[in-house]
Symmetry: C2
Subunit: 299 residues, 2 copies
């Protein structure tokens, strides 16, 4: 079985309810805001404030790059508050987030993210691969866990500005790129379980090399059915934090038995839902000698 | 249907693999540490350092208490690092956590928690309700998401010391208590998906009143089958953050239709797995006129 690196996605497409205005009041949850988003301040790239770092860190050689370990000089942040909407987007020095220990991201996993890459083409221009699709999924993920929606074209513009500021960090050379990690977290400072009344988008960036430096090679997969990564009615179609941590223990167990990754199965008929960090291509010779290349795309 | 507040738990019991030493090396994941924990520094309550806050915040009247919104003067923290083990437990002023934006808790939901209460009895003594059971579940939750194990009796001792320091915050009066929130998060500063090489336990405390101030009353539940909270092979048996955020949108939808909470179902035969914030008691009259009180305990 040959495998290739790709964004982890989903197993079952689900309809996400659109945000439409409503006048109901929720006694248990104080978050009618989901249904009144249109009145709030939209995410607006033209409000961007740039206070870039004066501290220019040393770049690493391409050969030294490790996935997601080194970050650029700056980061992009945008705060959101219930009843107000999106605040001023800021590009500022990369640095620690200061959050109350009661912030709901630490307790209830109000968090979703995207993974996307910026490349330098042969003319030295910066290119993104279909960022509009990433932004759409980012919004869909946020909605699934009751985090605020945003104007996705505006976030793409802000990321483009961020790339101009940290331009020197985009590696040159085939297979090298600047990995971007747009992330949204719920920052409400209260343990009540409901929609977060505050949120933060942050975008950080890390120069990276090819995911598999040795090239296109086969890996061994352990077919895993006792732990389940995605299930109907779950969150396999959203890129939320909660999809990840529960998969680490099974992955360590697979490693222990000599496999690199898990082939995630669901149900008594062992439906394939996902492969560790990649999409999955199956070359199938059927009973009658027919040969098929089956591409499993996780949506 | 009558309902009563209780800790959310699980739907299917799962066997958690014990940590046993092994010599395998994992190329994909750099975390052989799960299998060599015994050699590392254990969590040791006798190392506790107390630097309590000099800033004594004003207490609130019992009638003003809101669940999980006000916190005591101090907090308990203990750091963990792969290859070293548990560090020095500290009781210090309640304050913000400073974390790198790449910390894995923000991306992959490396987070689990407990909810427990400290009460004052009629003699003014502080009492905890079976803290050993909470600590056991806390450890089980941590293991499910490859966070480090800890000596659970030691954490109970540390929580007792914390309660002495913030003693004045434990409310008096029937139904009032100090809610404790032990939390463990993964703090590795790198986006690689694997077991976190750093972790933090923090315990914060919030004075609270009765969960349902109006007393023992019926609530309306929306039977929910299109979104699923717990499933075989999932994390319903562990108190991990990822169980929570995906339930908010369905809860808001239930509220919109006039229901207070969701009755979570699983599968085509609609097995009951969980009710919003509570355990579930069913009074059942069967076809032959028999009457049964069924107590659904989530394990």
């Amino acid at each position: 079985m040959f495998v290739q690196r790709a964004m982890r996605q989903a197993t079952k497409a689900q309809t996400i309810l659109g945000a439409s205005p409503s006048k109901y009041t929720a006694k248990v949850l104080s978050s009618s805001r989901l249904y009144s988003t249109p009145a709030l301040a939209p995410l607006d790239a033209s409000k961007l404030e740039i206070n870039e770092s004066k501290n220019h860190k040393a770049l690493q050689e391409n050969s030294q790059l490790v996935f997601g370990k080194t970050f650029t000089d700056n980061m992009l942040t945008i705060e959101w508050e219930a009843g107000k909407g999106w605040g001023t987007p800021q590009i500022k020095e990369y640095g620690k987030l200061q959050l109350d220990p009661s912030a709901v991201v630490f307790h209830y996993a109000f968090e979703c993210f995207e993974g996307m890459k910026a490349y330098k083409d042969k003319d030295g221009k910066t290119r993104l691969f279909r960022p509009d699709m990433n932004m759409k999924r980012f919004n869909r993920s946020a909605q699934r866990i009751a985090l605020p929606s945003f104007e996705d074209g505006e976030l793409t513009k802000l990321i483009s500005e961020f790339l101009k500021v940290d331009d020197r960090w985009i590696p040159k050379g085939r297979g090298y790129s600047l990995y971007l990690r747009p992330t949204m977290i719920g920052t409400q400072e209260s343990l009540g379980v409901g929609a977060s009344n505050k949120a933060l988008i942050f975008v950080i960036a890390s120069p990276v090399g090819p995911y598999f430096p040795s090239g296109f090679a086969a890996v061994n997969l352990l077919a895993t059915s006792d732990k389940v990564r995605a299930w109907p009615g779950g969150t396999g179609d959203a890129k939320v934090g909660g999809n990840y941590a529960p998969c680490i223990r099974p992955q360590l167990d697979a490693n222990k038995e000599g496999y690199q990754q898990n082939l995630w199965l669901f149900g008594s008929d062992h439906q394939v839902t996902e492969v560790g960090t990649m999409n999955c291509f199956v070359f199938w010779k059927n009973e009658k000698g027919g040969k098929y290349l089956i591409v499993i795309i996780f949506l």
